[in-house]
Amino acid sequence: MVDELAFNYEITNLMYASHGQPITNCLQCGTCSGTCPAVEFMDHTPRQIIGMIRADLKEEVLASNTYWTCASCFHCTVRCPADIDVADMMYALKRYSMWKGQFQAGLIGPDFSEAFVKMIVNSGRSFEPLLAATYLPRYSARDIVQEGLMATGLVLSGKMPLLPKKIKGLKKFQQMVRRIIPIGEQS
């Protein structure tokens, strides 16, 4: 029997509801990477990541930006000839890396997700302007200016309200969330 602790089994387990086939079925054909619209910006192609997982190259995989560069377009998933839910595997890796607090330095993804969830838990709804605050510091001065200009533009055009909405049943909503994950205490 295979060692349960093997990295690829950890990942497979993390793909809870992915009703696709396990990545052990991958035939390394490259359909996912040939399809991927964001592949140029990835350290390794999705196919290589699967290969690396199967080779238990845990550190290398976690250090790669590939899974945080996945745009969740699911094109790989629908095309995979081995019926592997590749996009869902990328989510699994994101969860794993956040759980282990181990990911490439300078990535915005992890903080963004964290912040996003915090916001939802605090208000029940998401709200673009607030989000901006959490990631702007990561940007170059130029970006910030642009972002600022755009934001004002949006506000003036009435596309963006100035204040976030909160849902009414927030209390119960938060209790509900606490039944699933510890995070999200009132802040």
């Binding site: 035939l27 490259g30 040939g34 399809t35 991927c36 140029e40 196919r47 290589q48």
Partner: protein
């Protein structure tokens, strides 16, 4: 007489002994089943070996056994072996029972104690059952020497010629107007590149002229009655609207016919034919067919140009379908394959972009007798491609379509690459997942292609598009793929794309299988009796399969199977008569109430009702032994040899014996 039963437990090397404690089982059987008549119980390394069989025969003689139970592999593998062994020792073979402790025990369980426990139950079931086995003698029926071959492709042609040459009659049925099948459409054949027509045509002519072959083209099998040795096959001959006795095949009719029709069958949509036509010049038989769906006369009631010009008045618009019945002893199915429909993968652009071709279209395109006279040009009919991309595994090795490998595409892709290279000097890319060249001379051909400078990109093509992101891509088809050997996504602009569409079972294979009473795999290929040891026989006696109908394969393999099936049939014919399993139902007239419930239960109409005696009776020749009537008879008047109520009921007791013995705990072993 008192039962004297011998029990034999096979180790099958470690296949069984590795999991089941065989010694323990045989010891247990010898002691605990003695009261049921077990006088001797042994275990042996390989019961099926000659030594193992002699062991049984020796015991039968010395211990004068009158029943034998062998616990080994599946009865489907060795039942005959052990029954013959008993026969050799003058014990009626049907007094021997083979129970499976391999396929159904040692191979599927890991817990040794539990497996051993189960083995005991299975043996005990066999013992209780064998007690009620009766002496039986197989029914002998004569074998009709004629054979039906369905499908006039290379596999069917080969089979038909082998049998006919051996001096026996063959009915060769083909759905299309001519025999030849897919092979007739090809230009060259890999790996030797000899011309397909050159090697096929002579065989087709032989079939056409052979005194022992009745060629029934433009015909389809409608009904199959009877059983091995005595099939009655109903065949529908579709109307040709040609009096073949008068037709000389001169060709004036199709010259004069004013109606052009797109030929989607033989020319794969690449060319036209007339409404009256022969699919290709070397067609066998030479007689044309009038396609009544497109013929102007059948549509509008006027024209008859062919009739006017026919020098022998061979045209007959009144001709009607003819239904004939032939008697045959054996059947060979060689109905071939369909091509995977590339439209199902829109991202490959077939039928969206003009210059995306299927492999069959390309075969016609580069065929000297094809629509372009063998010139490899784009759809515009003149431009010679400068770069060509060949996409492997289209619809194959893909769980979204067909999970299996189509076996021929790699070599076909290499062949195409060579032809394109040779005739146009174009740059050729092969996009593959794995290159599979597992036959004689194939790897050498691959090497040759590598030397010729064909480019190979390892990666399954993601998509083909006409979207030019950079100037070099303008006006080209862009193949987007990961070059997995360098781990980069590449966009390769080409002028022509050839899709190696996979092979799949005929669209109507399920119906055909049902018609001939055989079974299909999950992918609807016909299932052979044994994947390795009996590849051309089926589970149905007297029905054989050859060529792609059994699974994707290339020409050499199809020919081999055609010949193999023929050899099997000739073997049967030589036996002159065949022994049928005596598993049959019989009605006890005294008990029969004449309620006739069983009569319409029988799918083979084997049960007839005697009006005056008011009782039903089973015709043993027609009865197939399914036993439904036995289970259905309210009076319990019907009994079935080989599977009698006594046998089954006591087998149930036997299987449960251990529990009754309150030995639900795996016996200490």
């Amino acid at each position: 007489m008192t039962e004297r039963i011998g029990v034999y437990i096979c180790h099958c090397g470690t296949n069984i002994a590795g999991v089941v404690d065989v010694a323990n089982v045989s010891k247990w059987a010898g002691e605990k089943l003695a009261d049921q008549g077990v006088v001797i119980s042994r275990d042996y390394k390989f019961m099926c070996s000659s030594l193992g069989q002699e062991l049984i025969q020796k015991d039968i003689k010395e211990q004068n056994l009158n029943r034998v139970v062998v616990a080994a592999c599946s009865p489907h593998l060795h039942e005959k072996t052990f029954r013959n062994a008993c026969k050799g020792a003058d014990l009626n073979p049907y007094l021997c029972e083979l129970v499976s402790i391999r396929e159904q025990d040692s191979w599927v369980h890991t817990d040794k104690a539990a497996a051993t426990f189960k083995a005991k139950a299975i043996v005990s079931g066999g013992v209780s059952r064998v007690v009620h086995n009766e002496e039986l003698t197989p029914l002998k029926v004569p074998i009709h020497p004629a054979t039906l071959v369905v499908g006039g492709g290379i596999a069917g042609i080969q089979a038909a010629l082998e049998i006919a040459d051996a001096g026996f009659h063959v009915y060769l049925v083909e759905r299309e107007p001519s025999i030849g099948g897919h092979m007739a459409q090809f230009d060259k054949t890999f790996p030797t590149l000899d011309c397909s027509a050159c090697i096929l045509t002579p065989k087709m002519v032989d079939v056409g002229n052979h005194p022992n072959i009745t060629l029934l083209t433009w015909s389809e099998v409608q009904k199959v009655d009877g059983y091995v040795g005595n099939f009655a096959v109903t065949i529908k001959k579709k109307p040709r609207y040609i009096k073949i006795e008068d037709c000389t095949g001169c060709g004036i009719c199709w010259e004069k016919c004013p109606k052009k029709v797109l030929d989607t069958v033989f020319e794969a949509g690449m060319g036209n034919r007339k409404a009256v036509y022969v699919p290709f010049p070397q067609a066998v038989p030479k007689y044309p067919v009038i396609d009544d769906v497109n013929c102007t006369y059948f549509l509008k009631g006027t024209c008859k140009a062919c009739e006017k010009f026919c020098p022998t008045n061979a045209i007959d618009f009144k001709q009607e379908a003819e239904v004939i019945t032939v008697e045959v002893g054996n059947i060979i199915l060689a109905t071939g394959y369909d091509l995977f429909d590339a439209r199902r993968i829109p991202q490959y652009g077939y039928a969206r972009f003009a210059n995306v071709y299927t492999n069959l279209e390309f075969e016609r395109l580069c065929n000297a007798a094809g629509p372009t006279g063998g010139n490899i040009v784009l759809r515009d009919g003149k431009t010679v491609p400068k770069t060509v991309g060949i996409v492997h595994c289209v619809g194959s090795r893909d769980k979204n379509y067909n999970a299996y490998c189509s076996a021929i595409c790699c070599m076909q892709g290499l062949k195409f690459a060579h032809l394109v290279h040779e005739r146009t000097g174009a740059e050729v890319y092969n996009f593959y997942i794995d290159i599979r060249t597992p036959s004689k001379g194939y790897e050498e051909f691959y090497n040759r292609l590598l030397e010729e400078g064909t480019r190979f990109v390892r990666g399954k093509v993601a998509e083909v598009s006409d979207f030019a992101r950079v100037p070099e891509e303008e006006g080209k088809l862009v193949i987007q793929v990961e070059d997995t050997l360098i781990g980069k996504q590449r966009r390769i602009p080409v002028d022509m794309v050839i899709l190696s569409s996979g092979l799949q079972s005929r669209h109507d294979s399920k119906d055909v299988a049902k018609l001939f009473g055989i079974s299909c795999s999950a992918d609807n290929w016909f299932i052979e009796r044994h994947p390795k040891l009996d590849p051309v026989a089926t589970m149905t006696e007297g029905v054989f399969i050859a060529g792609c109908v059994q699974g994707p394969k290339d020409i050499p393999a199809s020919v081999a199977q055609g010949a193999a099936a023929a050899a099997r049939v000739l073997g049967k014919i030589q036996q002159k008569e065949i022994a049928l399993e005596p598993v049959r139902a019989t009605i006890n007239a005294d008990q029969c109430s004449g309620c006739r419930i069983c009569n319409n239960m029988c799918p083979f109409n084997a049960i007839l009702f005697h009006e005056n005696e008011m009782v039903s009776e089973v015709n043993p020749a027609l009865c197939q032994g399914c036993g439904t009537c036995i289970a259905g008879c309210p009076a319990g008047a019907i009994s079935g040899t080989g599977f009698s109520n006594d046998q089954i009921l006591s087998q149930i007791d036997g299987l449960l014996l251990l529990n009754i013995l309150k030995a639900a705990v795996p016996v200490e072993s």
